[in-house]
Symmetry: C3
Subunit: 142 residues, 3 copies
């Protein structure tokens, strides 16, 4: 691991969330949008990266909050908490759910703004909460 000095001339932004439940989708759209606005780039891409191994990041509907709740249920049913696992911490299902959602997302930046589809939002995906978590955001011109 690199010990980033977060107060140096940052080449990325660090967002923070505190989760409340073991499995919980947290809407990050506003925080990511602010990071993009701050970057001052007219056209390019925004990367959202989760530096954890039992959490991920997802783009999906954030208009109806029931969708996020339903997705939490789908992942919990797909990967049982009590499988035949060897990892001693008892959270192998969390690692698997993180692998399925992925640790990063890329979103276009157009006209200086985060170019999501009409119903899309960016969700931090907690699979082993409650915890304090970080999300890294980088914006590149292009």
């Amino acid at each position: 691991m690199i010990d980033f000095s977060e107060d140096r001339e940052a080449m990325m932004d660090v967002l923070r969330v505190r989760t409340q439940r073991r499995t919980q989708l947290v809407d990050l759209t506003d925080q990511v949008s602010r990071a993009v606005a701050k970057a001052g780039i007219v056209s390019g891409v925004c990367y959202v990266y989760v530096p954890h191994t039992t959490a991920g990041v997802m783009i999906n509907e954030h208009f109806d909050p029931d969708v996020a709740g339903d997705l939490e249920g789908v992942f919990d049913r797909l990967v049982p908490h009590a499988g035949p696992y060897r990892h001693a911490e008892g959270n192998s299902d969390s690692h698997a759910k993180a692998a399925m959602t992925g640790t990063s997302q890329v979103i276009f930046v157009e006209e200086g703004k985060l170019a999501l589809g009409q119903w899309q939002g960016v969700f931090f995906c907690e699979f082993d909460g409650p915890r304090e978590r970080k999300i890294w955001v980088k914006v590149m011109a292009g």
Copy 2:
């Protein structure tokens, strides 16, 4: 959502597909390859982004079309249409399948061309069709 004026000096290309079935993989390889050729970039990356919440994008075998059919079946069996869902539109399984395939893919551009592996193609993944859909493509030099 940003209302992109699609006839302005575009920083991305917009592809369109019309799907015929509820779950359907559509081969986009030729359309994405043309967008890369048009961009005129020798080396870099091509991002393919789906601005919908019940559809995704995948890279997989496009030589034998039976693979795409088998993948449609796998996703439909993994996430049941009739789960215990709260989202009133009745398509929570579509949202979950989109989350599992992801909304974007990155492919290298080398020697001015889309650098896919020998058997790879790019598929739009419809999970709540039939519909008219858009796919955004951006090519960055690097």
Copy 3:
């Protein structure tokens, strides 16, 4: 497919792995880190791309090797080898697992180094081994 002349002035690195089992996660972290060091870029992103259709790439815990073993088991249980498949090669489950992990990952480069989280490693995900495989790595400044 593009026939890359790998000894030309390369715009990407080609890593190689030889897998031993049908489903096997192989830790690529050191090889990817070396490719980033070689690139000599202070800040940017590193893309890891798998040009195969029955293998993927994942970021997850590499501190306790039991996690990788547990993840192999989860994917093998989620997608049965003997489903109702049409693809004649008998490896449709391998294609599906590759689709679920994805063919690429993006990792930030900060201070000239691969910026993984504390417990994260990069894994090549073999789902139809044993085979000889390639992984493409590209580093872009930004």
